[in-house]
């Protein structure tokens, strides 16, 4: 996908349409999975009831859904941002590890006396810088050496994961811990919960805020326009005075920063520490989310919440109905596929009407 055109926050008719088709797509994939469940001897009705209860059925459920959505929003925005500039950031995984680790370590080595309102932002910033470097490097290598960004990103993913693992294991391991993880962060540094006893922290607000920033950048700023132009027609952008190399690097750097926030706020929010290999492939899910959200912040946030709710609901499903986690993977896969294929739903509808 080449990103197309500037978008506006207020969805156009065709956006509503695609939203409608997305809903149908979800329904369709659920029907499909229902068959699998029946075949496996589960009761789909109960299962889906549990799915819903687990994702939206209660305040706790909703907070869980949102908590799962937060990192997805960050990476979704990250990938979307890069796409606007015509680049494919498959390196979110690496960027979020670098970000999460750096911020955690910073938080731990900063003098304890330091007031939180200084140390916390400092730690977060450090993490974002790490993410910027990890992303910007991809942009630089692409812009300067014309090396395909995908392979560089894949390599940097592995390197980031192993590097952080190395440092945690060898230098920052929590005392007496059996898992490679840093010491728990000072209480003041851990973000407060929005809903008591839930994992949902104020990082949600930051995620939503970044969505607004994202929208603002592309709707109102010259930089956003230049990124858009670059993604749309690089040579024309160059002739139009867009500094292509610099912009390419910046795009990837900012994309990296966004992705890193996914890691940073898992650290400061969900876990309160950096844990080796904590990410279940968030960076890759982000790609799907960015595309499904069509690069629009609102779309990305909605898509992220959808995925979050699937994860939250899946837990309830396995808890109450014993539906295995693997079935859930199947559901997720099918939902992704069918949401990405509105034409398939159109086709079905037209068949019926004929």
């Amino acid at each position: 996908m080449k990103p197309k055109g500037t978008f506006n926050l207020f969805a156009r008719r065709k956006d509503w349409e695609s939203l409608w088709y997305s809903l149908l797509a979800i329904v369709f994939s659920f029907l499909l999975v229902a068959l699998i469940m029946l075949a496996m001897g589960y009761n789909p009705i109960n299962a889906y009831a549990a799915l819903f209860r687990g994702s939206f059925g209660s305040v706790y459920a909703i907070s869980l859904t949102l908590c799962r959505s937060v990192p997805l929003i960050f990476v979704g925005l990250a990938v979307g941002f890069a796409l606007k500039g015509g680049m494919f950031n498959i390196g979110g995984e690496g960027q979020l590890y670098m970000g999460g680790f750096t911020s955690a370590v910073t938080a731990l080595i900063l003098p304890q006396g330091m007031p939180v309102f200084i140390s916390l932002p400092l730690a977060i910033l450090a993490g974002m810088v790490a993410g910027m470097v990890w992303g910007g490097a991809i942009g630089l290598i692409k812009a300067k050496l014309q090396i395909n960004e995908v392979i560089v990103a894949i390599m940097l993913n592995y390197i980031a994961q192993l590097l952080t693992s190395f440092f945690v294991n060898k230098y920052f391991m929590a005392k007496g811990s059996m898992t490679p993880q840093t010491e728990i962060l000072p209480a003041g540094m851990q973000l407060p919960n929005i809903v008591a006893n839930s994992q949902l922290t104020t990082s949600l607000y930051i995620a939503l805020f970044m969505g607004v920033v994202y929208w603002f950048v592309f709707r109102h700023t010259v930089f956003g326009y230049e990124v858009n132009a670059l993604g749309n027609n690089p040579s024309a952008a160059g002739t139009g005075g867009v500094h292509t190399v610099r912009t390419t690097v910046l795009v990837m750097a900012f994309s990296g920063a966004l992705a890193s926030m996914a890691g940073i706020f898992e650290v400061f929010g969900t876990y309160g520490r950096f844990i080796d290999g904590f990410s279940p492939g968030i960076g890759f899910t982000g790609i799907a989310i960015a595309f499904i959200g069509q690069g629009k912040p609102l779309g990305i946030i909605l898509a992220a919440i959808l995925f979050g709710s699937l994860q939250a609901g899946a837990m309830q499903m396995s808890l109450m109905e014993g539906v295995s986690a693997h079935i859930d993977k199947v559901i997720q896969g099918l939902v992704i596929v069918f949401i990405a294929t509105p034409n398939f739903i159109r086709y079905l509808l037209n068949r019926k009407t004929r």
């Binding site: 706790y60 869980l64 799962r68 294991n169 391991m173 811990s177 059996m178 898992t179 490679p180 728990i184 006893n197 839930s198 994992q199 898992e266 969900t270 876990y271 309160g272 520490r273 844990i275 080796d276 904590f278 990410s279 279940p280 994860q311 939250a312 899946a314 837990m315 309830q316 396995s318 808890l319 109905e321 014993g322 295995s324 986690a325 859930d328």
Partner: protein, 330 residues
């Protein structure tokens, strides 16, 4: 999953497995087996969940606890410590248990295993077998680990210490599987085994969960010996698997169920599963490899020494040297 029992008892247990999930040929499978047995024999009931990421632990604990449905909730695996520390205090009347770690809370029963002790025994066994003509006379053995993490380091430490305890100048080659799926990458594990074999190691022990199957593959192909881990893996290939280190967390799970049925599950304490408590062990049962009885006799001696506490097995590889310096085998 819902597991409903034949003979009935109103005990209900909730279990939260480690991220590896079932099929890890490690603690997940073991604890499951334990409860499975409890279900059949004691007629208890249990539900289990397989978390997809470490973020799920806390949520599952929360949700299970708030159902107030379970007499005990078992957390399987060292990485559930933090979530448990967070959730358990919120539910003072809910009993919890954790396998493979110690959580000092009044409503949590902790079970830690001394894998190093069992590993020490199979290491000693390997060390002695190397002196026989069952194998090449190059005094080299191998060890395959999934990851370089403290938990697995215990296996490594015990194994090497044991081998060198009985056979001071034996060489232990160790490699890690690593990569995207350290516990289920049989391909890499097999290649490591083949390579260690080509370097002379013809007895190889592993602590790599499912990846271990790759080792057994190699052993069968090249006709060398392997040592199983956690459960009695001798049955997988009796002709090539000499022995298995046993980690009896299945017993632990069973005991938990049993004491619930008898209404005397004590929480707030730490149970150490070691050789002393039979929570750790080794077996040559069902292996067709004829390890001389004299060797087994020695292994038993060593076991006693450990049980009696006169041998204290190191639980980190860096301590092996100092252990050997201060303990010598006669």
């Amino acid at each position: 999953a819902k597991e409903t029992s034949t003979t009935s008892s109103d005990v209900k247990i909730g279990m939260i497995l480690g991220v590896g999930g079932l099929g890890d040929l490690s603690y997940n499978d073991l604890v499951y087996a334990g409860l499975d047995r409890a279900q059949k024999e004691l007629g208890i009931d249990f539900d289990y969940v397989e978390p997809q990421s470490i973020a799920d632990f806390e949520t599952f604990l929360q949700q299970m606890a708030s159902t107030r449905m379970y007499d005990v909730i078992i957390s399987v695996g060292y990485d559930q410590v933090e979530p448990l520390k967070k959730v358990a205090p919120q539910f003072p009347n809910q009993k919890f248990a954790i396998i493979d770690e110690n959580v000092a809370l009044p409503n949590v029963a902790s079970f830690v295993s001394k894998e190093e002790e069992g590993s020490f025994l199979v290491g000693a066994l390997a060390g002695m077998v190397k002196k026989t003509d069952l194998v090449k006379a190059n005094n080299t053995i191998g060890f395959i680990s999934a990851l370089d993490i403290p938990l697995l380091d215990r296996f490594y430490a015990g194994y090497e210490a044991g081998a060198r305890y009985v056979n001071p100048d034996i060489k232990v080659i160790a490699n890690y599987v690593g990569g995207n799926a350290p516990f289920s990458d049989i391909t890499t594990a097999k290649e490591i085994a083949l390579k260690q074999f080509s370097q002379g190691a013809d007895i190889i022990y592993h602590a790599a969960g499912g990846s271990g199957l790759g080792l057994f593959q190699a052993a069968k192909e090249k006709g060398f010996y392997a040592i199983g881990v956690n459960s009695n893996q001798n049955v997988i290939d009796p002709d090539h698997i000499v022995a298995s280190m046993l980690k009896r967390v299945d017993n632990a799970a069973y005991v938990i169920a049993e004491s619930l049925v008898n209404g005397n599950l004590a929480t707030g304490g730490l149970s150490v599963l070691g050789l002393a408590s039979d929570g750790i062990g080794y077996t040559v049962a069902e292996s067709n490899v004829a390890v001389g009885p004299e060797i087994l006799a020695v292994v038993e001696k060593i076991k006693e020494a450990i049980v009696s506490g006169e041998l204290v097995v190191p639980d980190a590889h860096k301590d092996v040297a100092s252990f050997l310096a201060s303990n010598s085998f006669r």
